[in-house]
Symmetry: C2
Subunit: 770 residues, 2 copies
Amino acid sequence: MNQDYIKPDVWSIIEEGFDKERVKSSESLFSMGNGAMGQRANFEEKYTGHTFQGSYIAGVYYPDKTRVGWWKNGYPEYFAKVLNAPNWIGIDVRINGEYLDLNTCKAVSGYRRELNMKEGWYQRSFEAVLPNNIKITVKATRFLSLAFNEIGAIAYEVTPLEIDAEVIFEPYLDSGITNEDSNWDDKFWNTTSITAEGGQAFIEAHTMKTNFATCTFMQSQLIYNGEVTIQTPVESKTEFLVKHSYVQHVKKGETVALHKFGGYTVDRNHKPLELIKAAKTALKKVLDLGFDALLDTQKLAWANIWEMSDITIVGDVKAQQGIRFNIFQLNQTYLGTDSRLNIGPKGFTGEKYGGSTYWDTEAYCIPFYMATKEPKVARNLLEYRYNHLEKAIENAQKLGFSKGAALYPMVTMNGEECHNEWEITFEEIHRNGAIAFAIYNYYRYTGDYTYIPEMGLEVLIGIARFWHQRATFSTQKDKYVILGVTGPNEYENNVNNNWYTNYLAKWCITYTLEQLQKVKEGYSDDYHRIIGVTKLNDTELEKWAVVAGNMYFPFSKEHGIYLQQDGFLDKELIPVANLPKSQRPINQKWSWDRILRSPYIKQADTLQGFYLFEDQFSIEALEKHFDFYEPFTVHESSLSPCVHSIQASKLNRMQQAYMFYLRTSRLDLDDYNKEVEEGLHITSMAGTWMSIVEGFGGMRVVKDKLSFTPRIPEQWEAYSFKINFRNRILKVAVSQKETKFQLEGAEETSIRVNGKRVVIAPNKETVVSN
Amino acid sequence: MNQDYIKPDVWSIIEEGFDKERVKSSESLFSMGNGAMGQRANFEEKYTGHTFQGSYIAGVYYPDKTRVGWWKNGYPEYFAKVLNAPNWIGIDVRINGEYLDLNTCKAVSGYRRELNMKEGWYQRSFEAVLPNNIKITVKATRFLSLAFNEIGAIAYEVTPLEIDAEVIFEPYLDSGITNEDSNWDDKFWNTTSITAEGGQAFIEAHTMKTNFATCTFMQSQLIYNGEVTIQTPVESKTEFLVKHSYVQHVKKGETVALHKFGGYTVDRNHKPLELIKAAKTALKKVLDLGFDALLDTQKLAWANIWEMSDITIVGDVKAQQGIRFNIFQLNQTYLGTDSRLNIGPKGFTGEKYGGSTYWDTEAYCIPFYMATKEPKVARNLLEYRYNHLEKAIENAQKLGFSKGAALYPMVTMNGEECHNEWEITFEEIHRNGAIAFAIYNYYRYTGDYTYIPEMGLEVLIGIARFWHQRATFSTQKDKYVILGVTGPNEYENNVNNNWYTNYLAKWCITYTLEQLQKVKEGYSDDYHRIIGVTKLNDTELEKWAVVAGNMYFPFSKEHGIYLQQDGFLDKELIPVANLPKSQRPINQKWSWDRILRSPYIKQADTLQGFYLFEDQFSIEALEKHFDFYEPFTVHESSLSPCVHSIQASKLNRMQQAYMFYLRTSRLDLDDYNKEVEEGLHITSMAGTWMSIVEGFGGMRVVKDKLSFTPRIPEQWEAYSFKINFRNRILKVAVSQKETKFQLEGAEETSIRVNGKRVVIAPNKETVVSN
């Protein structure tokens, strides 16, 4: 953890000073993305120091053959890798023949990176003395266009300071790239054509196995003294690389700039044979605009995003920077316009984890997207799972389930399971419940019931069938039990009757039965279609009801709490606070067996159930469970602190809530887990948003109405957020003494604040004392 | 399973008819070994069909870097591979320029393999028509010398049948070999010199990483018309291969033979720089003898082995063949003369499993070696673990244990853990108890207490310390519990309070405390040395006693049985008999999670405890537990049927006992699990021996006396076995009506038969009615 690395600033992420040891960390922190593609903040120019090169295209992956120590029956055959894509950002720079390479410069000063989150651009500037003693300043500005999401732009400026110099820019495209995490050192890309003509260049390459066709392209402009110089570059090609060369004699103190435009066209959006044509069309548009005008569209697009999703915090710059970083990264990763895409756990910032979709999407991300975007965005995320239903049924079949039971994968790209640890893939089945919960949550928040008869009910039926088959009857307990699972707390494997899983299973069946009835009554055509497809009959439904009605829940009378799983109380119940610091984090200090038999909880497990289903438990029950489980929680998952922050807020323990908030919001900026160089923790960032809106703000939807219980950490003067609730925009601003509500539009609405009904008139502040 | 593949024969394993599909299976079944080296029954001559090449040198292994899907803290860094060693058996054969290759011959007839177990040789003979239409007969006889264990010999005879022919023999050595199961395709061998001079050839090669130096060598004689022809062969070399060439014009109907002598000298037995010298010495000895005289020494050596270890069965050829095959293979694998070696689970017959030492040695093999060899052999096996004590302490430290606690590895070559599945390596800790039990068993059987003060007590202390630390206190149960283990039944992982493990833990501590007292009283010097080394004090001992005295054992009042683990009765208790055949073996048909949550037992678990500690349970208790657990047992481990056979015999259920016996004794010969081509199941073969001696014969040691409860399956007329009990040789012959005892030596002894004392006079038959 390093709290001084990133300078506090309310709108920007700023690094000052060049430190070779931090290059890889900063490559993660300054990553760019526009939902369709993204990249780590690798240098444009040559760099021979340690770097982790990464450019990524949404939806383009590779099924890397699974590699395990001992094969278990049912393992997925492959692990879907987030693929490092061809590099379009590269610009070699030579000054009087000498390559600019920050690793070999005699001196580097004034080095500064800024990621301007407000406007959506990234800039790096420095002064350097090259090995040939030439001193230059460099300023490189880059962004990935939101307006034209196949395009990125770079303005790379060089100024020789002490003498006139010949500056050569060599922008290139390179498809000779690899993944650091390849299992078998397979070749992932096949380059099929390299074209360079009239100042444009194109590399056509397709992925092996998945055969995704892509075209990586570029075109540049040379600007000297503010004028675009017409120069047809010298072109050169090698097996995987195409390069242009622009030469300019630059007077001392004057600036030459290369404006490079590049990016990808892919066959998800175009016919495979028309990728070059599409690239040319995209290039023409942005070349006509030029760098500055394109940047203006970028600022506008980000202004629109912030208009709806910004959270302000007054009196705590680091907290302000943290929450904006989280919101910025979520928007860089996923914009919700394409239901074939999802929210990768590392977004476009690294390779680790593989797959794009985890239960994180349903349990953590959907609330953020529902509240800050059009309802269609969350619906796209739900449709993504509907489109994968068939694969989820196949996945369940592979594991021995039948008759349309669906088990959604733990990790996926295309609906198939692609994780390869049995205790996760086979046993962490609670993810199936989160997918059902998201359907419920979507309707609760948006009021849009149509998704359920149109698509959601089929998903619910598949999931209910799974739970029905997965539970078995214990004659000993005279109840249905669910044996051999891993709960959200992955520091337990193969446990029996994980309370969260059992609860979710019962809930899924009950909820599905209710929706079946509702659809039967209100959407007769859909109902008959669904019954036809699923071949559901009353006998099966009765069996479901028996299982749901007789589910076993481990409970301790002594403690008055549900047990995380059978036998939890047999553990040595030493609170985390009593562990020597030298033993933590336990996932780095302890062997796996020791972790498993310890009581320590990686992330909210029983408390996750109390979060999702809070209306079914009293505040006293929450307090009891929080007081029991939190002391054993090590929060070694990025998904843990946010749920605890929300619950601490609910219990009005603001010090604790604030502490958890800080931990979630600056996890990557302060590199708590010393792993930021591998990439950012994208999905947990939605949890940070929840910590403020649902935690401090206490926002809930109760019977179709918004409800708030505003609280504020004593460290803050004020904070505000906006939400889109059923197409009404409400701004909530909380200070130490009061909360102001402001509604856009023409109609009044009523909400509940601290349990009391409050009518909010549009376009004027309604103030409620805290 | 194929019961007709191997011809029934009381002393030989015989295959008739050439079937390319069976080449790999037969390569396993006809494997040779002499304790120091061994090899699969690969053809000497070129063979282009499917084959699994394997030559192995005892104690020569390679630490292959662990490859797992997701790394867990504490994993061993490598998996010790049984290494395919340089090939010395190869002889290319050309007839009039055409290579003999059974895969390309126009016709093969009269093909026969015989493994003569009585005399310890293997012979292959056939008639073949080569692609050039020349018809020949071939007879190749091979053995690995017991008298000179660095040497193997081959007599390869060719007879052209219809025309005179030029026969060229090209014996060679080849170090360009690989392992089929390599994790990373590492190069395992480094060849440092290839020498050919005066008809001898040597390849010096050392293993990578472990740096074991070896010399593979050969020298041959050409025999024509029964005369050794003096011929200096033409020599040729390539990067990894050296070849001799012997040419002979052979008249129609006459026979030319090549007698090839080869093998390995290794730096375990010689100085690394003197391996060639040692090879020359070995070659001189056997060349002086010649093939036939050397074969005579072989027959004599095997006669000596059989004299002591043979079991005869009258009236059931397949059962007779089965038990001799088991005894033969055990002796091929391990002869007990070198305490640096152990009993690999596949012996010298394949690569699978890696490592040479499992708990199989202590739990299954030691009784066989104690009863059929000098006591020194079993003691060597115990010393092997004593020599690894330091590594076992290191292993425990890696997993978080302290103060000299020892956890012996699940799989090892040199004392270090080298398995790589957490649920086995970290959790299958019961193996630690088997090592303590073997110490107890050794003393019980041999009466040699000296091992305990000299070495065993230190091992026991390390083990007791482990159990003391591994148990934790459950306030809920007010008992010590052992959480997160895998029992002998590997179809359960990460369970709590596996009864067998808990029982063993308690027993280990109690037994160690007793031995401490005994050594203190009787071996004062040793006691003080050990206390000095281990820094044991009374406080620690008191703590041990508390844990042992308050161990928790899961028990079902309803069933009156100990539970395999906590929660076992929550499973769906459907007996194996009610499973559809299509679902078995479950390890091929079911996903891992389904196996884990099922009640099905891979091998004896609770019943393993009843086997080891039978004197602590009544026959009624055994019956109850047998009746409860056996119906859930799928016997998908080779170690399962033998324990069940012994217990069925004890319960006088002879039909069942016989059925289990057949399954264990002909597991490989009849290829029950369709995997014999990977190699043989060596360690479980000791279980077959136990099934007869301890099962049918009911042999036990009770208070320093032998005891028998002879029973006999109705399918047999009679059977007999011999045991060496405290240097007295007793032969036991059981028929349907009576049992005859015959004692070698001069003194009488008393034994118990069916609970009654019987005095056995030496050198005369004592007959007891059954």
